[in-house]
Symmetry: C2
Subunit: 248 residues, 2 copies
Amino acid sequence: MELKKILEMRSEESWQENLPSLSIDCVIFSFKDSSLRVIMVKMKDLDFWGLPGGYVRKDENIDEAAIRILKNRTGAENIYLQQFYTFGNLNRSEKVFEKYPDTLWNKQRFVSIGYYALADFSKVDLIIDEFSTACEWKSIDDLPDFMMDHKIIFDKALLTLREQLNNHPIGYNLLPEKFTMPELQKLYEAILGKKLNRGNFYRKILRYDILTKLDESRKGGAHKAPDLYSFDLEKYNAALKEGLKGSW
Amino acid sequence: MELKKILEMRSEESWQENLPSLSIDCVIFSFKDSSLRVIMVKMKDLDFWGLPGGYVRKDENIDEAAIRILKNRTGAENIYLQQFYTFGNLNRSEKVFEKYPDTLWNKQRFVSIGYYALADFSKVDLIIDEFSTACEWKSIDDLPDFMMDHKIIFDKALLTLREQLNNHPIGYNLLPEKFTMPELQKLYEAILGKKLNRGNFYRKILRYDILTKLDESRKGGAHKAPDLYSFDLEKYNAALKEGLKGSW
């Protein structure tokens, strides 16, 4: 069924169920094959990709709404989720539905609350809903055109990750339980958007004393099997509370 | 006129002018006599104090709404203002107007966007509007009971100041152009909520190389006139961009 028809069918129910003027957009990150990825959705009958989003029900807290929206897209619960900014410029979303009837739920002016999520790539099942034709992980190095102001929302989310790298458990939530030092460095490089010197990075991260070196190494591959590490959660959380010192 | 009557009179106009479901609350800080202060408002016929707030007009951006609300309370423009968090729990505000008619604008469920502002104490004229009986600077060491979830909003604003102390121009916006080192230390202590060692603080702040020592000293007082400093804005902004290193 075409998008216009679905939205018109759903409109009355949306007005009944949701708080007007408010939407939620989620920037869902994961890390896979040395690349930071984000979930993007292609809406039916529209040529642009957007961030997965939704509305706030009249009987739920905004955090609950974000958790529900996240679960509907990824099938996953207990994902690290954090509100980071609210986007409320005029005409940030209204144009998309310009040619639709004025009473349509989606044609309102929406102020959108941005949440970012840190997901384990392997635990997410992407779900395509009735409004969309695709739902995919996109590498942040190769993003498609965004609809509405979603590029601004995405950029702000990435900037927030960057600013919070020293006091939020970002590495812990984006890496598998066991990882190699090059993988950790790649993650930091992806978030910071720059290459880091290998020696400096190793020295610095080891000085923080937040990693446990495991008695195993990564099997397979032509080179010497690299050592595996995991986060020492107690030390990691204590260090984040103080804030890891210095820039990368 | 009593509050209920005023709100009922304004209700229809409020529904016409504003985006439903959305409000803005402002945590307006200043620094005076060694104490961090915040503007609080006492609503007519209510026994609690609240943060100054307002609504978002249908034809303005949310940042513009915050600037307008701030100006209406302080008479001041060009105040440092920043969005910090959005508060959207169920029943955060609804109870206050429990006994009022259901169609009253103020009785809706509001999701509130929090802004903090850093004001120069000497440049603010507090304005009491028709809904309130008082509008005052309150020291954060001696705050009255807050209405709704305004204590949560205030606490989050103060926490944000603390987290941003090393990468936002907070000192610059809260101090007069010329200040003494003890005044700067007092400001840092007020924001961080703890005493700092004088020697360490001096060494550290001087090492950042963001201050200019002026050729004048503070006159008056029994002791040796203390040296005056100002921020070297170019160096200060460059240092904040990198982030001042380390904890206090």
